[in-house]
Symmetry: D2
Subunit: 80 residues, 4 copies
Amino acid sequence: MGVPFELNTMIVTKGNETREEENLFKLTKEGYRLYPIDIPIEVHKTIDSESIGTAVILKVEWEREKTTIIYRLNSLNSTN
Amino acid sequence: MGVPFELNTMIVTKGNETREEENLFKLTKEGYRLYPIDIPIEVHKTIDSESIGTAVILKVEWEREKTTIIYRLNSLNSTN
Amino acid sequence: MGVPFELNTMIVTKGNETREEENLFKLTKEGYRLYPIDIPIEVHKTIDSESIGTAVILKVEWEREKTTIIYRLNSLNSTN
Amino acid sequence: MGVPFELNTMIVTKGNETREEENLFKLTKEGYRLYPIDIPIEVHKTIDSESIGTAVILKVEWEREKTTIIYRLNSLNSTN
C-alpha cells in the first residue's frame, strides 16, 4: 500500500526532451519521480556524461506511473 | 536552496473541489504537496470533520507553488 | 542516479515490531520509506487486515536500504 | 494534517558538522529534510559559497522536527 517514488537531483534527458518554446523543454520519464522544482539543477544527456547546463523545473506532473517535467534551460556549458 | 513541500496522507477539500466528470474532481491547494497517488485515501471536508469517503488520486501537478490533484471519489460514507 | 523510496501512509507491522517501552514500538522495514511523522496514522498487521489502532511515529531512520521507525501506539481498536 | 518537509539536493554545513571518524561527519539541521542518500552530492559551507567537495550520506534520522545526517566526505575540491 505504498507508492514507489524516485528522488532525482538532476535532469537526465537521454535525448527524449521536446522543445516547447525558446528555452523551455518538456520531458516525460517512467515512474513517479520527485524533482527539485524552482531551483537550478544540472541537466545531463546521460547519467555518465558531463552536465550540458543548468535548468529550473517549472512544472511537475505525475500520472499513470509517469512523470512529466517542464524546465527552462538557463545556461549551457560552453564546452558543449 | 531547499524545496518546501508537505506530505499529505488524505484529501481535505474545504469545499474547493470542482467536478470534472461523474465522480472525478479537481482540487488546487497552496504549496507543493506530496500525495499518495493511485491508492485509496480518505477525503475530508475539513481536517476535523469525519471522512466523507475514499478516493484515488489519478494525477498530481506542481506548478507556481500550487498543487493540483485530480481524484476519483470511490465510495461515500453512508452517514453523509 | 535516483534514490528509490516508497511513500507510506500507514504502518504495516507484519508482526515484526519490537516493544521498546510501555506503548512504544520499533519496526524495521526493507527499503527507504517516507512516513508521515508526528501525526496519527493507522496501524495494520497486514495490508489487508483491519486497522489495529492508531499510532504516532516519533522517529524515522534511513540507513543501508532499510527504514526503522519508532512509534507510540495511541489507541487500540476495541474489536481487537 | 500534513507534515512539512524540505527537499535538499546538497549538504550545507554552516560549519555545524562534527567529525565522527576519519572522513565521517554528523550534521543536525532544523526541520524535516529529505536528502538524497547513498549517492554523491555536493557539500557547501554556505548556500552561496563554492562546493568544498562531494559526500555520500549514509544515514538520515528524523526526530523532534530535526534531521540528522551522517555523511562520508569523498573528495575535497583542490582549490579549498
